[in-house]
Subunit: 323 residues, 2 copies
Amino acid sequence: MKRPWQGQVEPPLLKTVPRHDPHNPLCPGATRANGEVNPYYDGTFLFDNDFPALQPDAPSPGPSDHPLFQAEAARGVCKVMCFHPWSDVTLPLMSVPEIRTVVDAWASVTEELGAQYPWVQIFENKGAMMGCSNPHPHCQVWASSFLPDIAQREERSQRAYQSQHGEPLLMEYGHQELLRRERLVLTSEHWLVLVPFWAVWPFQTLLLPRRHVRRLPELTPAERDDLACIMKKLLTKYDNLFETSFPYSMGWHGAPTGSEAGANWDHWQLHAHYYPPLLRSATIRKFMVGYEMLAQAQRDLTPEQAAERLRMLPEVHYCLGQK
Amino acid sequence: MKRPWQGQVEPPLLKTVPRHDPHNPLCPGATRANGEVNPYYDGTFLFDNDFPALQPDAPSPGPSDHPLFQAEAARGVCKVMCFHPWSDVTLPLMSVPEIRTVVDAWASVTEELGAQYPWVQIFENKGAMMGCSNPHPHCQVWASSFLPDIAQREERSQRAYQSQHGEPLLMEYGHQELLRRERLVLTSEHWLVLVPFWAVWPFQTLLLPRRHVRRLPELTPAERDDLACIMKKLLTKYDNLFETSFPYSMGWHGAPTGSEAGANWDHWQLHAHYYPPLLRSATIRKFMVGYEMLAQAQRDLTPEQAAERLRMLPEVHYCLGQK
Ligand SMILES: O=P(O)(O)O[C@H]1O[C@H](CO)[C@@H](O)[C@H](O)[C@H]1O
Ligand SMILES: O=P(O)(O)O[C@H]1O[C@H](CO)[C@@H](O)[C@H](O)[C@H]1O
């Protein structure tokens, strides 16, 4: 952290996003690339991505002739979910009841797409730095005919831990972090936020329910309200850290769905990962390059230092403080 | 690849890097952060990183009280290697004999640090987009007391393949790619460059010797000359692709070193990975975010398309063509 930084400085934020832009395909009433017109929605709005990476009818690559050249069809659907009709808000600037409607929409889309697909990946890329190409508050949902790599790794680790120790890995992990406290950021009646012991991004966090919950749709109304509340607090802290709209990629992981949903997935615990790139300021990020790509992740500050800085930050958003 | 891009556009390159800047700590004759003065070197120059991530005497974290909280000391050294006394050149603009001195320096540092450390990671972060904070042509060498994660994964895969198929994975892989041709970029008497079947970055390549070589120091003089030559061709093609100084992280992987260097590592084949971020132009990159971070890599163009584009590009650098 002491080395002088003469490298890339990120461009400052576009300051003025108009509340409504009829040419923005995510806005209520706008016409999308495929000619469809968005409804004048006033909560969340879910639609098919006009440029999907996964398609339900992707052709099969056919049999392979060699063990080193194995390929399989990747089938699925890609959806976009708008969080709010206005383009000039972000989750931490939305009210708790508005965030609660997002939580409900996440649970419903998991249920809907999970009826057919074994994995439903909800993720949000926030900010231009994280490859987000539209400032309107939204996330994406990609459902796939296969367990993606990271899902497979979490499946293996959680299954192995359960069979060795007789309890879910992330239940015991959350329990330990509650005792140790040094990596905790926020706690509430139903949820925990912490900088995980294994964090690689400077201010990476893990959001965990306290109760054993395998998937989003299982959350009770009280847990959903409390989730909306703790998300607002966490994202407010993030924005307050460098007084900027904090960029990140985040996503939910829960037990696999689809035709095997009825199997025993008790080793799974629902959780969300937040991966934010900023390191020193609103314009100086962590680069995951060179050594990290070719050898191993290495951190510029400890998880305990990151947790302490996040813990100390106010829960009132810096843009709302003057009111 | 068809979706319109309204997202982040990278800042254009700083056009004028002075050939010599007495305040640049990588230049001949400059004073570094620790007060040392660089010699007036005229080939390559290796020195200790003044802000090392690894240190030879890192303290041990002590025993752990829980299976989920395991930590170990990471010990090592970090060095910087300048490729050339001038700040305004890059490898593709250097002559083949100049690049050959870099190859020799890589082999020597592997030998020197490999006498003590089990892993010597040589890597180059090129360009501000890849977190490089100094335009002077250089790479880094981090030697560690442990096998980093990626090294461990390559060790496992190569060992398993050898024990199942009786030959090194990457020897058979290179052989197959020579037969299939569709992912080849360049071939020479002693080397191959291809876009690997498993590539995740748009124009990612793998550089492989044709002979079974476990580590850089084993390369013959003829193989070293030929390596300098094929590297110049590859990096010229990269620069020509979007007519820019092409950013990337690259690094060498070879059999582990250190006290176990004498064991049987015949399943290893030396290779270099190139991971370049650009996707569509000199300013539009691939973002490895959201789905890629939380689920699985997904490509915007196929390895075969990438290989074909690279194959078609001239081997004369766009900056030198007019001469
Ligand atoms: O060593 P540098 O150039 O200071 O730093 C660069 O390379 C390191 C090793 O890949 C990374 O950890 C840093 O994030 C990056 O900015
Ligand atoms: O879906 P978008 O916003 O067009 O694209 C963004 O998210 C995708 C999924 O994480 C990534 O593959 C793209 O690189 C990124 O730019």
